[in-house]
Subunit: 350 residues, 2 copies
């Protein structure tokens, strides 16, 4: 986060003249070009973004790449622990990391609602820059659209990303084997509860911050430690349970969770009780699970714990023989079947 | 367009039960997964989209790739000659083609407004499939979000794209030389006028259709004919003039247009006069210019004319010595300076 000072830079678009984004800022004329040339290009300039093309030319040195996309529609735009800009960068970085790829390049596409304060856009643009630097990725191409008032919601951000795959592992659900151990990098539920509490004006004893963070560093650490990872998955929309049900269905394997081992902070557990949520279904933005062979579990936990984003790493379950489903064992040894939730849980949290 | 028959397939989501998209279709639970598993995955299935990852793993055989992104916010969703789905595919395919790349892979990210008829989503999904097949690209990864009623506008679509660069040309503004000839592949102004006329309910003698089309085929034809292309640019938002002003500024070159040579259909010219637009500023979605050395101009025109999307190819100007700006010469030999428009011209046409 070596460019924190940028947050004090003043907006390059004169606020007195253009206090808010207008339709003309997305129309392809002079104001569009000014917004891009004066706000975005200097902020994100790098050797790949300079050709004044509608695309970036990139060298590829890997035989395989990963490609992913995410649109971010979170509201509010700013929340404890992050904002839509950092979320958009880390969300796509994390999707690439979960493919076992090293994230390299991001595209950035903004859909701005007419009337968005120019200062807000500038704050978010700087947050994107800081997040990209923190994650070690470059914004290489972009697009800006403006939609009429009341046909958008301040700002939506799409980031697509390209990462390099420089190892021979097949990190995917079909690589999962019976006996694999499931390792989680930390406590669950912070992102969803932080955003909801902030949005609804709920006050808890302590302010709950999102866990929003880039996971590429900790995944690289696992790869460098030569952990033979079978599968990785971040625990976003739908939380831990949705991720596991999807993986059980895809891989055709049975997954058993040791529910008491799953870390949830007391304040999050309390907030979930008040709000009627199960923390196992709540979205995270800095949490993931790794499926590893049993003889690599201890090394995986040790490697994760040595990384700031894995200090709370624990083994929470394993893959067993049997019907493809997810079971949670409680402290009494009893078990329940976990399934995806029906209907709507926490809307607009990413 | 060998899958036209798909347009008669019935929607895989039971319309009687889910006549409209709900918030739960974007929440990460059962309905989200059903929408993706039953509508999108079967439609776009290919060898790269099957891993059940949040990303696609792709082989790279080129030393260089191009990467681009575009969000599409056009309204209405359907217009004469296309819809937001085909536009989203061709828009990104064309951006890649303009980089001199062969488009290979697209990502597809939908931001759906709660309440969108499920049948509308299905029609657009099929249009995306047909357009991708027509352009020869594969949809390899995706994302779906749903936003609350009145915080979106039916549907926004982001497509990012990756293309392979398999030649040694540096196709970019800085490669432009004095003496370069500017070749245009056909008549101007159809897309912007078609969308505007349809949106505003204006009736002209003949229905005006958008020129929306994939330009990768005609660009590949130029490359295969070994035309030493210096620069390519499609003429979207802001039309021919915005593209030329941008290129003149970036390359530091002076561009002279022979205005009478620029093809504009009579009905488009008439509509522009009634509506108060200059066709040189109106958006196209299937038109581009190529900058080529003078001794390659005839071959470039011949190659373009042999392609269905270049039947009307003509030379419309050249690069000259002098101050970096765009001049248009009229039939009397006089000239005027062309600049980007200020303010807003045609909103939401892409």
């Amino acid at each position: 986060m070596n460019n924190k000072a940028n947050f004090h830079l003043s907006c390059p678009i004169p606020i007195s003249r253009y206090p808010r984004v207008t339709m003309a800022h997305g129309g392809g004329g002079r104001l569009s070009h000014q917004l891009i040339a004066e706000m975005f290009q200097p902020l994100f300039a790098n050797e790949f973004s300079k050709a004044e093309h509608d695309g970036a030319l990139l060298p590829t040195t890997s035989k395989n790449i990963a490609f992913t996309t995410d649109s971010h529609v979170i509201r509010p735009l700013f929340f404890p622990g992050g904002d839509i800009g950092s979320l958009a960068v880390y969300g796509t970085v994390n999707d690439l990391a979960m493919c076992g790829a090293k994230p390299l390049y991001l595209s950035l596409s903004l859909i701005i609602e007419e009337g968005l304060p120019m200062e807000t856009l500038w704050r978010i643009a700087q947050s994107i820059k800081t997040a990209a630097e923190t994650a070690g990725v470059r914004i290489v191409t972009g697009d800006t659209k403006v939609v009429n008032r009341a046909t958008g919601d301040e700002l939506f951000i799409n980031t697509a990303g390209i990462g390099a795959i420089d190892h021979a592992l097949a990190i995917q659900p079909s690589s999962i084997q019976s006996g694999d151990q499931i390792i989680l990098n930390g406590d669950l539920g912070r992102h969803g509860i932080a955003v909801l509490a902030h949005r609804e004006g709920l006050a808890f004893e302590s302010e709950i911050e999102s866990d929003c963070a880039p996971l590429n560093g900790i995944v690289q650490a696992l790869l460098q430690a030569r952990i033979p990872i079978h599968c990785l998955r971040d625990l976003t929309r739908g939380g831990l349970v949705s991720a596991l049900v999807e993986i059980a269905t895809t891989s055709g394997k049975r997954i058993e969770l040791n529910e008491p081992a799953i870390p949830v902070r007391e304040d999050i557990r309390g907030a979930c009780e008040i709000l009627g949520f199960d923390p196992l279904f709540v979205a995270n933005e800095g949490r993931f699970i790794a499926f590893v062979p049993p003889d690599s579990a201890a090394a995986a936990i040790e490697t994760m714990r040595a990384h700031p984003l894995g200090a709370g790493a624990v083994q929470i379950g394993q893959v067993t023989e049997g019907e493809a489903r997810v079971l949670a064992r409680n402290i009494f040894g009893g078990s329940r079947i976990l399934d995806m939730f029906s209907g709507e849980q926490l809307p607009r949290i990413c």
